[in-house]
């Protein structure tokens, strides 16, 4: 180990640390202890990232709106999440009189646990994956699917019309967008030939010259990435798909009746969902922990992973700062009549890509099909819904 260059040591620093710590224990419990350490690391790192993200989000939104954002607590307001955390912890925990107390209590826990589980299969760096599962992608989606139940539990148990309406919307939306989310990942699986996330990253961690073989740089990959991003935004209830909690109509959606620490848990769950889905997107399309240019591989792999996740988070924030939200029926229509057909088409194109073999022909054909389909479907969508730019007349 001592002979290894510093860059590799840095790259594997967390693994080395884990092995060093586990080394103090008897050999029998070492694997279990290692796993526990990994879980502890995830449980510490991502909530920390969540705290950082909340302040970044508020400051970023502020900058987009020509404001300063939080600037009171600590230098440049960076201790704001601590203040928020203390506030959330010390606030009274209100449970509505008619609420189903047990379910009301369980809902945020189920959400956070389910979301945390998803991190187990994400490779966050070279060799840095908690459980290298053969069916990792399936596991991830299985965990993602279970969050829907907690949303329903929260909405139903609150016995509030806004809550139940928000929960119904959220669940309907999450189910609708889970389908394109899965299908857009399937094209990656088709090319890689594996559901294992580590294998998917390994397949992308190659370079032509200095340029990487990320899937996003292929026509089908770009289209799938686009659809994945749309579906992921909807899946995490972010703008422009944030209508389950659209405060102008539904106050706060399914967690209207939550306060104090349980509210904080929902908040945490939402952000953790953002991290995990961004991590998955980075893994599937952006080469996971691999460096964007070959000579940048000296930078530790986990830095690249987290950089990609944070870049995705920035796009989430950016969209939140720009876009209004859609309406429920439009959202559903968009999922079923635009995103889903397009992902299906993309699957066909992916197969075409796979069987056309190397060469420029497949680039041209795939790009043409996808771009043409996108433009055509967009045109049809706008025509069918009767919307588009208008011109206006004037009276003197």
């Amino acid at each position: 180990m001592a002979a290894a260059p510093i860059s590799i040591t840095l790259d594997q620093i967390f693994l080395l640390l884990r092995d060093w710590l586990v080394g103090f224990l008897p050999a029998g419990v070492r694997p279990a202890a290692g796993a526990v350490l990994g879980v502890i690391a995830i449980v510490c790192v991502f909530p920390g990232l969540f705290a950082l993200t909340t302040v970044f989000e508020r400051k970023g939104l502020g900058r987009m709106q020509n404001r300063l954002g939080p600037n009171r607590v600590g230098p440049f307001g960076f201790f704001q999440p601590i203040a928020d955390g203390i506030k959330a912890l010390t606030k009274e925990d209100v449970i509505p009189f008619r609420a189903d107390a047990a379910v009301h209590f369980l809902a945020p826990l189920v959400l956070v646990v389910a979301v945390f589980m998803g991190f187990a299969v994400l490779p966050m760096g070279r060799n840095m994956v908690l459980v290298d599962m053969d069916a990792g992608l399936l596991f991830f989606f299985a965990m993602g699917a279970s969050t829907e139940l907690s949303v329903f539990m929260a909405g139903w148990s609150s016995r509030n019309k806004y809550s139940i309406l928000g929960a119904m919307r959220a669940v309907g939306q999450m189910i609708s967008y889970e389908v394109p989310l899965l299908l857009s990942s399937v094209s990656v699986v088709m090319i890689t030939g594996s559901l294992s996330l580590t294998k998917i990253v390994a397949a992308q961690n190659q370079y032509t010259g200095i340029f990487p073989h990320w899937y996003v740089f292929t026509p089908w990959g770009f289209a799938a990435f686009l659809m994945f991003a749309i579906a992921a935004t909807a899946e995490t209830n972010r703008t422009p798909f944030d209508l389950p909690e659209g405060e102008s109509e539904l106050v706060a959606g399914y967690f209207t009746e939550y306060s104090g620490f349980k509210f904080a848990l929902f908040f945490l769950g939402e952000y953790l969902g953002m991290f995990s889905i961004s991590g998955l997107g980075a893994t599937l399309f952006l080469g996971g922990w691999s460096a964007p240019l070959s000579f940048l591989s000296v930078v530790p792999s986990w830095i690249w992973f987290f950089a990609k996740v944070m870049a995705a988070i920035f796009v989430f924030i950016w969209m939140r700062g720009t876009l209004p939200r859609l309406r429920q029926d439009q959202l559903m229509n968009f999922a079923w009549k635009f995103v889903l057909p397009f992902t299906l088409l993309n699957l066909v194109v992916t197969a075409l890509w796979r069987f056309m073999g190397e060469g420029w022909a497949r680039w041209v054909v795939c790009t043409a099909i996808l771009a043409g389909a996108y433009v055509l479907m967009g045109r049809i969508e706008m025509r069918r819904k009767h919307f588009g730019p208008r011109s206006y007349r004037y009276a003197e």
């Binding site: 900058r63 987009m64 020509n66 950016w318 720009t322 876009l323």
Partner: protein
């Protein structure tokens, strides 16, 4: 193409995001208690009473004519006239307010009292940080709390105060000339009183 407008909008916010770091013009907010934008001279918040000279009671311009009390739209001024008299800035004997209360929790900062006052005695303050936890006591200002010196008036509204001072000096000169003339006629008191106490319309717009 679907998504074009969205991208255009995203570009606009990105421009603002980057711009807020570069251009002061964009970032309009300030960090308030430490950083303040300079008050605009014409700003008006709540009224105060002007006095000349060092003693607030002796120099108070108000003669308790009660026009402001009558014209105040929300009726937040309460005046009690004094029984005795004291000399005003011209030297003429005038009654003065024995009580002059303004309930600033009711006041709506409309400046009508200032416009209708013939004696330049009531003016608008620029002090706006009046937050208090005693809603009834601390926001009901009596004449002592309301009394501010002419120097203070000069410090908050310099241009307007200079104009007022010039007008008052002119009035004083006129009054003194008149008084002198009247004294010569040995009917000084009555004539001078009539001249000074006649409430004249203040020139609208000329504060």
């Amino acid at each position: 193409m679907l998504g074009e407008g969205i991208l255009k909008g995203m570009l606009e916010t990105a421009k603002n995001f980057a711009g807020s770091f570069v251009s002061e013009e964009r970032l309009t907010t300030v960090e308030y208690p430490e950083q303040r934008i300079p008050t605009i001279e014409n700003t008006r918040v709540f009224p105060f009473l002007v006095y000349d000279g060092p003693d607030w009671q002796a120099g108070m311009r108000c003669v308790a004519c009660q026009i402001c009390e009558k014209e105040c739209p929300p009726k937040c001024i309460y005046i009690e006239k004094s029984k005795d008299k004291k000399p005003d800035f011209v030297g003429k004997m005038q009654i003065y307010p024995a009580r002059f209360d303004i309930d600033v929790s009711v006041c709506m900062s409309c400046q009508i009292c200032v416009e209708v006052c013939p004696f330049e005695a009531i003016k608008m303050d620029t002090q706006f940080e009046l937050a208090t936890d005693d809603r009834f006591g601390d926001l009901l200002l009596d004449r002592h709390e309301l009394a501010k010196s002419n120097e203070y008036y000069h410090s908050i509204h310099p241009a307007e105060a200079a104009e007022v001072d010039a007008r008052l000096a002119h009035e004083k000169a006129v009054a003194e000339a008149k008084a002198r003339a009247a004294a010569e006629k040995a009917a000084a008191d009555a004539a001078a009183k009539a001249a000074a106490a006649k409430p004249e319309m203040p020139a609208v717009g000329g504060r």
